[in-house]
């Protein structure tokens, strides 16, 4: 069966869910729950479509067609899977989550959610520039409306800023498309791929695309919108923004740099690599300083986008220097991390949504002790934190390990540039990993462990079954994608090979994976998992041998306070944990690129002060929508080609 038919079912399900939300707006309790179930099925269709394409996938750029406008290759199949997994989890989650929005416009939010998911799914299977841009614009508008859906002045301001920055990105992307379209004299991606732009023009296209999609992907310096827009949107929608929508940016960069332009210039790869490395380190640095759990997670998206871009950069360097193995390994790691990030970040976003759902506060210092009141959410969240910190044997580790190995392979090639940038990337990744470790000890430690810091936190209780199901399912997926890596990695090798038009390399053997060269390194997550489990017998045996008349462990009294009366406020806070870091690296916190780029130069063009922004925001947004549509209509005339 044509997988695109399944994708159609998927999109139709989202549409039905949207219509249902509207039709049943006077009976929200029933209609929104049913809509949640329907869009979850939509996600399931998407997963089946994507996975079946990847599993049975043949070699070649386009595996399936639907008319002239839609086609599916291995890369878009992966993207469909990523979008569908997160959408499915978020839809299930919404069944309980939307209770809070009954009578407060929950149906509107749900319509936007479904339009948003449908547009993203359609975008990644589009085979035509016009279709791509139309869906990109629908995504922009839908996500903007989601951000401003609560109607507060704060959300309007954040939404306005998001909208402006996002459309600057759209204009840059349009410019890039304009050049490739006029060069190939066609809107079909297949024709554009067959007629790549060459020479200096190619570099211009690359820079336009990197800047445009870099904004959409929230790379560092271009990320200003994300930490503002993400925390305000309802949790299950913002999950889509920070886990999936930013991946559209990565998809765009891949599409342009590798598929349209063939990554011919060596320096492009280095630019992407350095951009990725800086994004990852600075993203997590800024995350460290946050005490609002949602903003903190938004910054972690920037970090992980950076890690993915490091893999993509290595791949581009591999292509440009004609080293297929390097190209494959880098892309394998990047794409694997793309899926993994969606899963563990989806888990953390939904998990933090559950906390906020009960706490009605995003301030981490209000929380504490939630592991006792919300045990299921806590366990799932803990698995998510372990995965995002790339601790073995979970999924985040496997993909980062591949990226490490690709950087190492790059260093091994021996040219001076590779010898500098390979270890540079590895050091940046290690630095990022250690910082992420601190950041998530802080998040889990402050929110879930210890004593409740407020009455609110003490009164929380476990969230509803649908929300628990969604987070638990994603937690299980984190474990599966990590522990089963020997069976999953070969598919990513096949996807990377199909994107690069190369023969896939063997990266797995029995229970282990290796970076194509079998004497360079070996990793076997299932064996590590088993070994860790079996080694717990050692401490157990030790405790058993010395048991004698030992009493059961117990909990009693306050922690020791040097003989003084213990008080709860003596304990560490979100700020005090990271204080040494913020002192040592003060120079980074005092010079933030996002402020310099967007807040200093771009936004002042549109408003001065805060109030006028809210007033004029909607008009400017409308203006932007019209101008983009106008440009869109004009493209055929300017470039002189028929659609």
């Amino acid at each position: 069966m044509n997988p695109l038919v399944l994708v159609c079912f998927c999109v139709i399900s989202y549409a039905v869910a949207a219509v249902l939300s509207f039709a049943g707006r006077h009976h929200e309790q029933a209609s929104l729950r049913l809509a949640g179930v329907i869009s979850a099925f939509g996600g399931l269709f998407g997963i089946i479509a994507g996975v079946s394409t990847v599993v049975m996938g043949t070699h070649g750029h386009s595996i399936a067609h639907l008319g002239q406008f839609f086609s599916m290759d291995m890369l878009s199949a992966l993207m469909v899977v990523v979008i569908s997994v997160v959408t499915m989890a978020a839809s299930v989650y919404s069944i309980n989550y939307l209770e809070e929005y009954f009578g407060k416009g929950g149906w509107k939010v749900n319509i936007l959610f479904n339009i948003f998911a449908a547009a993203m799914t359609a975008l990644v299977v589009s085979a035509n520039v016009m279709i791509f841009i139309v869906f990109m614009e629908i995504i922009s508008v839908a996500s903007w409306l989601i951000v401003i859906s609560d109607g507060s002045a704060q959300s309007k301001k954040a939404g306005f800023q998001y909208f402006i920055i996002d459309h600057i990105a759209s204009v840059l992307i349009l410019c890039a498309f304009l050049i490739v379209v006029s060069n190939a004299d066609s809107y079909q991606f297949s024709v554009i791929m067959a007629n790549p732009v060459t020479g200096a023009t190619a570099s211009i296209v690359f820079l336009f695309a990197l800047a445009g999609f870099g904004i959409k992907a929230a790379g560092i310096g271009l990320h200003g919108w994300l930490p503002k827009a993400y925390p305000i949107a309802p949790s299950y929608c913002s999950t889509l923004i920070s886990c999936v929508m930013v991946k559209i940016g990565i998809y765009g960069i891949l599409k342009f740099a590798i598929l349209f332009l063939g990554a011919t210039q060596l320096w492009w790869g280095f630019v992407v690599l350095v951009f990725g490395a800086l994004s990852s380190v600075l993203g997590v640095m800024y995350a460290l300083a946050e005490h609002d759990i949602k903003r903190l997670l938004a910054y972690h998206t920037i970090e992980n986008i950076g890690i993915i871009l490091i893999g993509v950069g290595v791949s581009m360097i591999g292509i440009a220097s004609h080293q297929p193995l390097l190209a494959l390994l880098g892309l394998l790691g990047g794409l694997y991390h793309l899926l993994n990030h969606a899963v563990f970040k989806g888990l953390l976003c939904l998990g933090s949504g559950s906390i906020v759902f009960r706490m009605h506060s995003k301030e981490m210092d209000d929380m504490g002790g939630l592991a006792k009141t919300m045990p299921k959410t806590a366990i799932a969240f803990l698995i998510g934190t372990l995965a995002i910190c790339a601790l073995p044997p979970l999924n985040g580790f496997v993909s980062e390990w591949f990226i490490y190995q690709s950087l190492f392979s790059m260093g091994k090639t021996g040219t001076v540039a590779n010898l500098i940038f390979g270890p540079f990337g590895m050091v940046m990744l290690a630095f990022t990993g250690a910082l992420a470790c601190m950041c998530f000890v802080k998040v889990y430690g402050i929110c879930f462990t210890g004593a409740p810091k407020t009455q609110q936190a003490a009164n929380t209780r476990e969230v509803g079954p649908a929300m628990v199901t969604a987070t638990t399912a994603l937690a299980i997926l984190c474990i599966v994608l990590g522990v089963c890596s020997p069976w999953i990695a070969p598919y990513f090798s096949a996807i990377a090979a199909s994107v690069l038009q190369l023969a896939p390399v063997t990266v797995a053997h029995g229970l282990s994976v290796y970076p194509a060269v079998a004497d360079q390194a070996i990793l076997s997550t299932p064996v590590i998992m088993i070994a860790l489990a079996l080694l717990t017998l050692v401490p157990t045996a030790l405790l058993y041998l010395f048991r004698q008349r030992r009493l059961e462990r117990r909990h009693q009294g306050d922690p020791w306070a040097c003989g003084y009366q213990y008080e709860q406020r003596m304990t560490v806070s979100a700020a005090s944990i990271t204080r040494p870091m913020r002192q040592m690296f003060g120079f980074i916190y005092n010079n933030r690129p996002s402020q310099s780029l967007t807040e200093r130069f771009i936004l002042p063009v549109f408003y001065k002060g805060t109030d006028t922004a809210v007033l004029s925001g909607s008009k400017v947004c409308l203006f932007c929508i019209f101008s983009v549509l106008f440009v869109l209509l004009f493209i055929p005339f300017i470039s002189g080609v028929s659609c």
Binding site: L382, L386, C389, A390, L391, F397, W401, Y404, Q405, G411, K412, L419, I420, P423, M426, V427, A430, F431, A434, C437, M438, F440, V441, G445, F448, T449, G450, A451, H509, L511, Y514, D519, Q520, A521, I522, S524, I528, A531, L532, L535, T536, V538, L543, F546, Q548, R549, R550, R553, R554, H555, G557, P559, W560, A561, T571, V572, S576, I577, P580, M581
Partner: protein
Amino acid sequence: MSPLEMPTASWIVLAVVQALLMLFLAPLATGFSRVIRAKMHSRQGPGVLQDYRDIAKLLRRQSVAPANAGMIFWMTPWVLVVTMLLIGMALPTVTQVSPFPISGDLITDIYLLAIFRFFFALAGIDSNSMFAGIGSSRELTLGILVEPILILAIVVVALVVGTTDLGYISHALANNSWHRPLTIILAGIVCAFALFIEMGKLPFDSAEAEQELQEGPVTEYSGSALAMVKLGLGLKQLVVVQLFLAIFIPWGKASSLTAGALISATIILLVKLFIVFLIAGLIENSMARVRFTKIHRTIFPAFLVAVLALIFLILGW
């Protein structure tokens, strides 16, 4: 180099025995450090076996935790011991190649050390004690400062050999690959520095500063849980030292799995460990603690030396 594969049964047995022996020797190593400290303080001090007596006694005692401590607090002693045992299994201590290469990849090892740090710090926050909390924060900060240096130093050596497998690096350096001596020596110095910090000793022992912060995240542990944490911390010292020995002082190890070769390699290993712990003890006790907020100024130059090692690698020295 032959492809890396799953180890056979006899190698796995060796790996497990080796890890258990390291666990058994961990209190000896920490006890030895105490003896050196007492000698340098010109006092009598406890015997070298004192830590065995401490741990045996603590293991029989009940654990008591603060009222609000949770699951993480109880999990952590297990996690500490288990992760270090897994690294211990992989170290090429007496054999030329790693007996358990599955966990013998350098990147895997660095992230297994990160699991240790993650749970150790989290347990400190979970115990709800302010001293433990500050200790956790310091432990994590040290990790952030040390990890990039450690990885750069090790990667430089790994690039000389062309693999990230600990066993193969050790084997290559023991047998032939000293064609870039300056690079390797410089990387070795930086690596020793970074791993010395990982051992948690003065002047960088700020996470477990006994005097001012009551042993950091360990503060609230008691009874059998404390015994396990102590074992885990001692084991980490041994593991970290042997990680260094495996890469930079790889000579004198068994090339085949015969009893004679293994025994002589074990004796050589014990001598090496004695010397390293002696040196570490001397350094530890002749230094004043670095003030924590200034610690990055001491560590940053080490990073520059690691960069220098990379430059030497590029120059081919």
